[in-house]
């Protein structure tokens, strides 16, 4: 089938060893990319190379391997920072998006949030951008409120503006919903929040892997994302923060690396970002994330985005023709990320994914770690297909055929 001209599908697919495996005797059709993506051999090789050839601790070993490891680790930081339009001094390596939002909770929140403060998030957030603020609110005696949604799943900006009159201290919002696919106008949200005096946190877990993202253009104070959702290893991600803010924050965890000097009765802190990276860094995975960013940069994020819009547009058009197909979120592929949540008649999402699995098709089913949103949608669960660079129009066709088979089994 015809593919977008700018992405050489055959070459891309050849880079991913896992795509050669069979599932239940069928070609693997991996459509669970919003949960985690597969890894190209360039990333796997970078990990192997580090552990095989220059494994050493960073920043403190004055020997050859230590210097090479330090150079590779800091070079990964530079490339990942550049990838999202930030400076390396603004990029803290974390375990992923969840640790990043929790870092803001502890290192910024514990110092600056006061009793009676208002924290604001939205109804379309992943639990990683809700629960840390709930815990912070509880600890500090602050209040957490939610920006509402408008059908078919966009932020209700009127309710946002109203909340801003109460001068919140933190506004946390997702760039792209992991369920609805909605791409929020985070530039506007952050501008409104800043005028109200709030510090802004953008969950970019579903945007950084899939479209060009520029930290300084968004105008947020903090940007969080995960490496494993963008071809990188698990256990590595980043928090990007404005330099001034990072400097005035307290440390996150105490230990080695994050200190300048330690005395028996007190300590002084290293500068950002090292102040937030206590203990031995996740060196290998940071290097792996650097390789992932190189891979995505070589394709071009504009091209990645175009490819997903094409797949999503085709999926919406094809699947919508099927009996009992119900999709959630904005209907226009141009306005959403490459995730498609849906239900088919009265077939529960878990039954559907069991049936599709037999066809070698991996989708996600459940509440997608977004229970307040599920409640708003009025469904206990949805199925979700999410696309990435190695998915083809054939994968969409396979999904459509799998749904037809499920309809036959369930006699829909």
């Amino acid at each position: 089938m015809a593919q977008s001209e700018s992405l050489d599908m055959e070459r891309v697919r050849a880079d991913f060893p896992i795509l050669k495996r069979k599932v239940n005797g069928k070609r693997l059709v991996y459509l669970d990319n919003a949960a985690t993506t597969q890894k190209p051999k360039q990333v796997i090789d970078a990990l192997t190379d580090y552990y095989s050839n220059y494994n050493a601790n960073v920043h403190r070993s004055a020997h050859r391997l230590g210097e090479e490891a330090t150079e590779a680790y800091e070079s990964a930081r530079e490339r990942v920072a550049r990838f999202v339009g930030a400076s390396p001094k603004e990029l803290v390596f974390t375990r992923g998006t969840t640790e990043s939002t929790n870092l803001v909770r502890f290192a910024w929140g514990e110092r600056f949030v006061r009793r009676g403060d208002l924290l604001v998030t939205t109804l379309m957030e992943h639990h990683s951008n809700i629960v840390p603020w709930q815990l912070l609110a509880k600890q500090k005696g602050a209040t957490l409120k939610f920006v509402g949604l408008e059908s078919p799943g966009t932020l209700d900006m009127a309710s946002m503006e109203e909340l801003m009159r109460e001068s919140p201290s933190i506004v946390a919002v997702t760039h792209c919903s992991n369920v609805l696919g909605t791409i929020n106008n985070v530039e506007r949200v952050c501008a409104v929040a800043r005028r109200a005096g709030a510090v802004t946190v953008v969950d970019a877990a579903q945007s950084v892997p899939h479209m060009p993202v520029d930290f300084s253009r968004i105008g947020c104070d903090f940007l969080a994302f995960s490496g494993h959702k963008m071809l990188g290893p698990t256990g590595i991600g980043a928090l990007v923060g404005k330099k001034g803010l990072l400097e005035e924050m307290d440390p996150f965890q105490g230990g080695g690396e994050m200190i300048r000097e330690v005395f028996p009765d007190h300590s002084t802190w290293n500068q950002a970002p090292q102040k937030f990276e206590a203990g031995t860094a996740n060196i290998g995975d940071a290097i792996g994330l650097g390789a992932a960013v190189d891979y995505l940069s070589s394709l071009g994020m504009g091209v990645v985005r175009e490819h997903e819009v094409e797949l999503l547009g085709h999926a919406i058009e094809t699947l919508s023709k099927g009996k009992g197909f119900n999709m959630y979120g904005p209907p226009d592929a141009e306005k959403r990320g490459g995730v498609l949540s849906f239900n088919v008649a009265d077939i529960h999402a878990h039954d559907l994914s069991t049936i599709l699995d037999e066809d070698g098709i991996a989708i996600r089913s459940g509440h997608h770690c977004a229970q307040p949103l599920m409640k708003w949608l009025g469904v206990p669960a949805t199925s979700r297909a999410s696309f990435y660079i190695y998915n083809s129009l054939d994968d969409v066709e396979a999904l459509a055929a799998g749904l037809q088979r499920a309809r036959r089994i369930f006699k829909v």
Partner: protein
């Protein structure tokens, strides 16, 4: 075993037309649990009759075909049985009741949710009753 076998007539029938679905006006046992991974929910209510027999039993909930059909079939099986019988129920009993479908580790939780809720309720009731008899 293919899913055409897992979702045989029996399970689909109980999913679409669940027996003993609803709530009791008067009950002695009420228990609720969810499967946090999938969001499946089951509530079971039991009216206990003479000799600790299950006189009436109803369930309600939402979730996948396997969790809902399994709970419904279990209520049919449990009606008239002694509460002690509930204590002896095993995973194998439930799978046998469902016709031994081949279920992976995540889906087996769906199949067993109804049994878990019924056991929770029965154990709680028997514990409470023991305390009362000490008065």
């Amino acid at each position: 075993m293919s899913s055409a076998d897992i979702y045989k007539e029996l399970i689909l029938d109980y999913y679409r037309n669940p027996r003993n679905f609803g709530k009791l006006d008067h009950f002695d046992i009420s228990a609720h649990d969810i499967n946090p991974l999938c969001g499946d929910e089951i509530d079971i209510q039991v009216k206990v009759g003479e000799g600790n027999r299950i006189e009436e039993i109803r369930f309600f909930g939402k979730g996948c075909a396997i969790s809902q059909a399994s709970a419904s079939m279990l209520t049919e099986l449990a009606k008239g049985k002694d509460l002690e019988w509930v204590k002896t129920l095993s995973k194998e009993d439930i799978l046998k009741m469902l016709g031994n479908p081949e279920l992976g580790p995540s889906r087996i939780k769906c199949a067993l949710l109804g049994m878990k809720v019924l056991k929770m309720g029965v154990y709680g009731f028997m514990g409470a009753k023991l305390d009362n008899s000490e008065d």
